[in-house]
């Protein structure tokens, strides 16, 4: 099973490695572009998913480019063999509707703006829960733009980035890793930090715990879903006369131990252990009567 799995993964990765780079999207009709609402906490380009509908059956998503002028949102599905694996979602009023593809799973989304010598890209990942979804590793590795920030890995199914965790991202230009490259982190909770990529072009980002204490008390938890905030990572790189800036944004939750008590957890576990302790005592009468069971 595992051998079959690695064989499939190898085949997919090989196919991806030889895949052609998507053509640069120069020559946009900038007159038709819309600049959506700006986010006040950052000037960096973002792609935000807005949820519509109240329950699972009626839920849909609108992708909204922010701080970037783009006329389409590009969506890459985790099924590279699918003819619709790479789609261009037209931006209507309020954003680009993102429907759930048949394969479900992870979708990589980008928006691109070219203004003179400046190329700006916003990117994010959206997850649709679906049984049978394909492994998105090859989709992440696929080259989509010149300058990219690629999660290594993205939080797995039903997980998310959380404060006080370290996550890795690969920074690459035209498919090649960018070593010693500065990466900027900004969060909607007003944190700012800088990191450097290592020799392999990989940066380890520490997600800050920057949620305010008073909000914790007022909002608390809801169905185990903790409060969230947004972060954006950005990297810029010059190549000839062109100046590239690429951002990757996502949301993150509070620290795993917020609204939890390890001490009390240990206490209740010990109480349970004490409750079972009498079972370990060997009763004298039983011990006397015990015969070795040879059946």
């Amino acid at each position: 099973m595992r051998i079959l799995y690695f064989a499939c993964l190898f085949a997919t990765c090989t196919a991806t490695a030889f895949a052609a780079e998507p053509p640069a999207m120069a020559g946009h009709d900038h007159g038709a572009m819309m600049r959506s609402q700006a986010e006040h906490w950052t000037q960096l380009p973002l792609l935000k998913a807005r949820m519509k509908g109240q329950d699972m059956s009626s839920r849909s998503y609108i992708m909204q480019p922010q701080n970037i002028a783009a006329d389409v949102v590009e969506a890459w599905s985790n099924n590279l063999d699918d003819a619709n694996g790479h789609r261009q979602l037209a931006i209507e009023m309020g954003g680009a509707p993102l429907d759930k593809p048949a394969t479900g799973g992870f979708q990589m989304l980008t928006a691109r703006e070219v203004q003179g010598d400046a190329v700006r890209v916003a990117s994010t990942v959206h997850y649709f829960g679906e049984r049978g979804g394909k492994n998105p590793s090859a989709m992440f590795e696929q080259i989509k733009h010149e300058l990219e920030i690629v999660p290594q890995p993205y939080p797995r199914e039903h997980s998310r980035y959380r404060a006080n965790e370290d996550w890795q991202f690969a920074v690459r230009f035209k498919g090649q890793p960018l070593p010693e490259q500065k990466v900027v982190l900004e969060t909607s909770n007003s944190s700012r930090a800088e990191f450097m990529t290592d020799a392999a072009g990989v940066v380890k980002v520490h997600v800050p715990q920057d949620f305010k204490a008073e909000e914790e008390q007022s909002k608390g938890e809801s169905h185990g879903m903790r409060r969230g905030a947004d972060f954006v990572l950005a990297v810029s790189h010059a190549d000839g006369s062109l100046q590239y800036l690429t951002a990757f944004n996502s949301s993150y939750g509070e620290d795993a131990y917020t609204n939890r008590s390890l001490a009390m957890g240990l206490g209740f576990m010990l109480a349970g252990m004490l409750g079972a302790a009498p079972l370990l005592r060997k009763r004298k009468a039983a011990a006397k009567n015990e015969e070795p069971s040879n059946a």
Binding site: D55, R131, N135, P153, S261, G272, R281
Partner: protein, 349 residues
């Protein structure tokens, strides 16, 4: 060579259990980060979704989630119940049954990571010379209904009511909040998050405290009681609902007059199913049976107890096998020679 590696069914089963412990607890780390969506999300064993590197999810969390977010919500909207509401739940049960059809309740006895953990603890208890506390025929019946209560209330009832808005939203997955596998499997990945009790709301705190106490109780009890949590596990009752629909069976044929008086198979049963000693035919395959096969291993009569798949014998009892088996371990799981002598001496005064 296979016979040297696996001289007994017990050795073979334990090997499978350890391999499956790695798959269910660390499968994501072994097979890559994004495996959960690609396998089933409906495994008939307690592979915990809270484990960040698990290879698959247990059917119970999917069932609770769907009852909470789809069925309950749809019922609350009276009249808006459509096939697309129940379809995901039917698919989940269908995928579960694809697995279950082939192995039946062997998922409990061979695959479940929490079953393996309890069994390892019991083996440690034997090495430490701890007593064996068995449920006698008269009182085992008091424990058996608990697993049905767990299924009906914690897995089916409360999540549906939470989806309907009748009870608090935190009761959307109450079984997971008290399930010892959530804590055991995450601790096995060196993650202490699930050991920390939630303090956000009273319900979260209550469920967390109960879950931790149950986990602590299970850890110690398993040293002296065989499979303490399995007896009240809602997956045992869930699987019992389907056990007659699988071609994998435990069968017992009537051998001779003394068979019902022998009782060795009863002693060997880790679930204290006394009926295995007295019942025959399909009645011997009790709702609590986990298809571990110990009764067949310790039956001293040829082919009286068998594990069968589509009528083909996979393993059958035999006198020679029995004689070899009891040389090393009693039916109750007590090793014949390997108890730590210091502890035994201390105990004897």
């Amino acid at each position: 060579m296979l016979k040297n590696l696996f001289p007994t069914l017990a050795r073979f089963r334990f090997t499978v259990q350890i391999v499956m412990l790695f798959v269910t607890v660390y499968g994501g780390a072994l097979l890559g980060s994004y495996t959960v969506d690609r396998i089933s999300q409906a495994l008939p064993s307690l592979a915990c979704a809270y484990d960040k590197v698990t290879g698959d999810h247990c059917i119970l969390i999917s069932a609770q989630h769907q009852l909470h977010h789809r069925v309950g919500v749809a019922l609350a909207k009276a009249g808006d119940v459509a096939l697309n509401v129940f379809l995901p739940t039917l698919i989940t049960v269908g995928v579960f049954f694809l697995f279950f059809f082939f192995l039946n309740k062997a998922f409990c006895g061979w695959i479940c990571p929490l079953g393996t953990v309890q069994e390892v603890l019991y083996k440690i208890g034997r090495r430490l010379g701890r007593p064996l506390n068995r449920f006698k025929q008269g009182n085992v019946g008091r424990v058996r209904p608990v697993k049905w209560f767990m299924l009906l209330v914690l897995v089916l009832g409360l999540p549906t009511l939470a989806g309907m808005g009748t009870v608090a939203n935190e009761l959307g997955d109450p079984f997971c909040q008290v399930c010892p596998s959530r804590i055991a499997t995450t601790l096995l990945t060196a993650d202490t998050e699930q050991l920390a009790v939630r303090t956000g709301t009273g319900i979260n705190f209550f469920l967390g405290a109960l879950g931790n106490a149950l986990f602590g109780f299970m850890i110690i009890a398993a040293l002296a009681v065989r499979q303490p949590f399995c007896r009240i596990c809602p997956l045992l009752s869930w699987n019992a609902l389907f056990q007659k629909l699988s071609p994998m069976r435990l069968v017992k044929k009537e051998a001779h007059d003394k068979c019902a008086k022998c009782g060795v198979c009863e002693k060997a049963c880790p679930m204290d199913i006394h009926e295995i000693g007295t019942a025959f035919g399909s009645k011997a395959f009790h709702e609590d049976c986990t298809l571990c096969g110990r009764c067949a291993e310790y039956c001293p009569d040829d082919d009286v107890i068998q594990l069968k798949f589509f009528g083909f014998k996979l393993f059958g009892s035999s006198r020679d096998y029995y004689k070899a088996r009891v040389k090393f371990e009693t039916p109750e799981g007590q090793p014949k020679k390997r108890v730590i002598p210091i502890l035994r001496a201390k105990e004897n005064g």
